[in-house]
């Protein structure tokens, strides 16, 4: 349904005018030819987060060709053959071409999922002038979901495509439309696309794992933490299906971030709920998080395949193949295990209990939960100050050697502060939060990279130790050794930079920035 540049689409806004009346209003000598009909199936793809749509693109398969279409112009920007209709695919699965490049720009990590399949029924007529020359084609299109059981109702359209060189006759061509004249409204490709999506694929609409809560500074913190937990638990649920189907690794990633965010906020704001309730939720979430660790590890290392291969000299690269095929096998195992857990009794039971706990509006007793009734703004100032102070104190304490443990701990401090800033973001002047987060960025990056490299080294080391010496493991051992050496060098470089980056953060500028941020809140 991509647009030829000249096609004019008219959305039918009232009851469908009678197709039998097509062409009756044409001037003398003009007429419409015999009608013909055809049907085509269109399948629309996008990632779970609708990244193509956000970039102004539609991704559509039609007649064995995958097209990337610009939503504003309706023009095909790139296309590539796609013989089957996969339930999902990665941009990197496509052969080297412009379409692949376009989709990689939308997302490297996320799979493009079959969002909806529709059947487009088209009746077309030729519009013929007094010379008996075809000057345009007139089409009536009605759409039905391929899944026959669906009762989705789609908008219907007439469209007129003047032949090349016959645009001047457009106003006469419009007379071919059946009455009433006011039944039509000219529409864009974007609108037609949106019409289809609205009717056919409402699931996952507007999904974003980014936190955007609008908080009221005077409302009790209890209410707002509950809202945060409502958000994180809904994100967890939204990602379950994607995890189950193993569509891409981001589903599990978002699921885990939600767990971490919930835990972090619960711990930092421990006085908001009764201690035993908080403890119960924290234990449950920690257990849940742990159950995802192995699967996430497999995902992460499989995603690093290209990167690892590039780090090694060509002679050692093939030796990584057994490493990755083992990882693949492990991943399948972990995926099965976690799926079983998701489908079993424990997980749904925990989630139901968690949601029930979150849903309880009544404020807990002040004796046991002293923070619960405090105004959100006041609590926010306090906890953010505390978290910043802790981060700075820990950072300053780190000596010249900066041990692994210190940097690990600092990274967690950093994340905690970040989660707090994101949670309370709506309370601050909009620019202030962005600035504060930006101020933290290089420190977070430094610590993040350090921990990341450490974890990778640990993983590779354990793999190395488990390698059976007898079955040709020498090559693999050499490859892993090579990776370890490179990662080690990188990590030590990151470590060296820590002090420089931390002192950049531990400055009067940061102090002022946070003062300003929190002062803005106090005033509100």
């Amino acid at each position: 349904m991509s647009d030829a540049q000249e096609t004019l689409y008219l959305r039918i806004s009232t009851d469908a005018p009678l197709a039998q009346a097509v062409g009756q209003k044409l001037p003398a000598g003009w007429r419409v030819g015999k009608s013909s009909a055809h049907r085509e199936r269109l399948v629309f793809y996008d990632t779970f987060e609708e990244e193509a749509f956000r970039k102004g693109l539609a991704v559509m398969r039609r007649k064995g060709v995958l097209s990337v279409i610009d939503l504003d112009s309706g023009l095909v920007e790139a296309e590539t053959p796609l013989i089957h209709t996969p339930p999902h695919f990665f941009a990197s699965d496509l052969p080297e071409c412009k379409a692949r490049k376009k989709l990689l720009q939308c997302s490297r990590l996320r799979a493009f999922i079959n969002r909806c399949a529709i059947d487009r029924f088209v009746t077309s007529w030729r519009i013929v002038d007094q010379e008996d020359k075809t000057v345009a084609t007139l089409e009536f299109e009605s759409i039905h979901k391929s899944d026959k059981s669906s009762e989705a109702v789609f908008p219907r359209y007439y469209s007129i495509t003047p032949l090349k060189g016959f645009h001047k006759e457009l106003s006469t061509m419009l007379m071919a439309l059946p009455e009433p004249v006011d039944a039509y409204r000219v529409t864009s490709f974007r609108e037609r696309f949106a019409g289809i999506m609205e009717a056919a694929a409402p699931t996952g609409k507007g999904y974003s794992s980014k936190l955007h809560l609008q908080l009221d500074a005077r409302a009790p913190i209890h209410e707002n933490v509950r809202r945060l937990l409502q958000f994180t638990s809904s994100i967890m649920e939204a990602n379950e299906e994607g995890i189950r189907k193993d569509i891409d690794s981001e589903f599990l990633h978002d699921f885990r971030v939600s767990i971490r965010r919930s835990r972090s906020i619960l711990r930092l704001l421990s006085g908001v709920f009764e201690p035993e309730k908080t403890a119960w939720a924290l234990t449950g979430l920690r257990e849940l998080g742990k159950r995802t660790n192995d699967l996430r590890d497999s995902d992460v290392y499989l995603l690093r395949r290209d990167e690892y291969t590039q780090l090694l000299p060509p002679s050692l690269r093939p030796a990584l193949d057994p490493f990755f095929s083992d990882l693949e096998a492990e991943k399948r195992l972990h995926h099965r295990q976690f799926n079983r857990y998701l489908a079993g009794k424990e997980y749904p039971g925990f989630m139901a209990a968690l949601k029930e706990f979150i849903a309880k509006e009544a404020l807990p007793d002040e004796q046991t939960a002293p923070l619960a009734a405090r105004p959100t703004g006041e609590v926010a100032v306090k906890v953010i100050r505390k978290a910043l102070k802790k981060l700075l104190a820990h950072g300053r304490r780190a000596n010249s050697e900066t041990s692994d443990a210190e940097l690990h701990e600092l990274r967690i401090d950093c994340k905690k502060l970040r989660y707090l800033l994101e949670f309370f973001a709506s309370l601050f002047p909009p620019k202030a939060t962005v600035q504060a987060i930006r101020q933290m960025k290089s420190l977070q990056d430094n610590l993040g990279t350090f921990v990341d490299l450490s974890v990778q080294m640990e993983f590779l080391q354990s793999r190395l130790e488990a390698l059976p010496a007898d079955r040709g493991g020498i090559g693999e051992a050499a490859a892993i050794g090579g990776l370890l050496a490179t990662l080690y060098r990188e990590r030590e470089k990151v470590r060296e930079h820590f002090h420089e980056i931390f002192s950049g953060f531990d400055s009067s500028e940061t102090g002022e920035l946070f003062d300003e941020l929190l002062a803005g809140l106090a005033e509100a």
Partner: protein, 248 residues
């Protein structure tokens, strides 16, 4: 883009019929085709039921590229477009003579069509003028329909001589017999004698009332009566022409 000119100094030899049918055969999804009607009589425009827009004129043709692109119209047949003729084309020669490099003007003006079309057909007016020379330079192949008569053969050899005398590439010329009537002994003899001439194509187009009726159906014969003997002959002629283009 390959440019094929249908040319004859004489009128009424089946030039336009050949241009219309061959361009129809040439047009496919892989080989979009444009037919340029250069004859002010506008016969090929008529066959495709297309009249030029009021703004179109010889001036536009001489300005080239963008101006030309805007005047192109789609025929009723997929992948085949037409640049219609206009009565003002009768002055093309005078206008050409006033330009700086009249003989090269046409090929330069058509450069802009390159990305859109794989085949370009010229339906030329029957005369030998500056415009013809401009066409000779722009074309990769000059197809000359000949009625099998002695006079036609004489004109054809004159054309080849003209090419030689004016520094034009005579190997671009390919004649074919048109409106051949087997029952006429002169036709039979001439076709037999000249069929192996290096500048002649093997395929002949028989005289046919079906071709004449194109004036009534106003569509390529190969679209309306693809099984008719003349249509089949055009089909074979196009195969031969295609081969020739590949070889050139």
């Amino acid at each position: 883009m390959k440019t094929i000119a249908l040319y004859s100094i004489k009128g009424g030899v089946g030039k336009t019929a050949a241009a219309v049918n061959l361009s129809y055969l040439a047009a496919t999804a892989a080989t979009p085709t444009l037919i340029c009607d250069l004859d002010p009589q506008g016969a090929s425009s008529f066959y495709f039921r297309i009249t030029a827009s009021r703004k179109h004129s010889s001036e536009k043709l001489l300005k080239g590229n963008d101006k030309i692109l805007k005047q192109i119209k789609a025929t009723d047949f997929p992948h085949l477009d037409l640049l219609p003729s206009d009565l003002s084309y009768r002055n093309l020669d005078i206008e050409l003579s006033e330009s700086k490099k009249p003989k090269k003007l046409l090929s330069k003006n058509l450069e802009g069509l390159e990305p859109e079309y794989r085949y370009l057909f010229f339906d030329c007016p029957p005369n030998l003028t500056l415009l013809s020379e401009s066409v000779f330079r722009a074309a990769d192949l000059i197809l000359v329909p000949l009625i099998p008569t002695t006079l036609s053969i004489r004109t054809f050899t004159q054309l080849i001589d003209f090419f030689a005398d004016n520094g034009l590439d005579a190997s671009k010329i390919a004649g074919f017999f048109s409106m051949e009537e087997r029952r006429k002994s002169m036709h039979r003899e001439i076709v037999e004698e000249y069929q192996n001439h290096p500048a002649m194509l093997r395929q002949t187009i028989p005289y046919s009332s079906d071709v004449e009726k194109m004036g009534l159906t106003r569509a390529p014969l190969n679209a309306t009566h693809p099984k008719s003997p003349a249509a089949k002959a055009y089909g074979k002629l196009w195969e031969e022409v295609k081969q020739l283009i590949v070889e050139n």
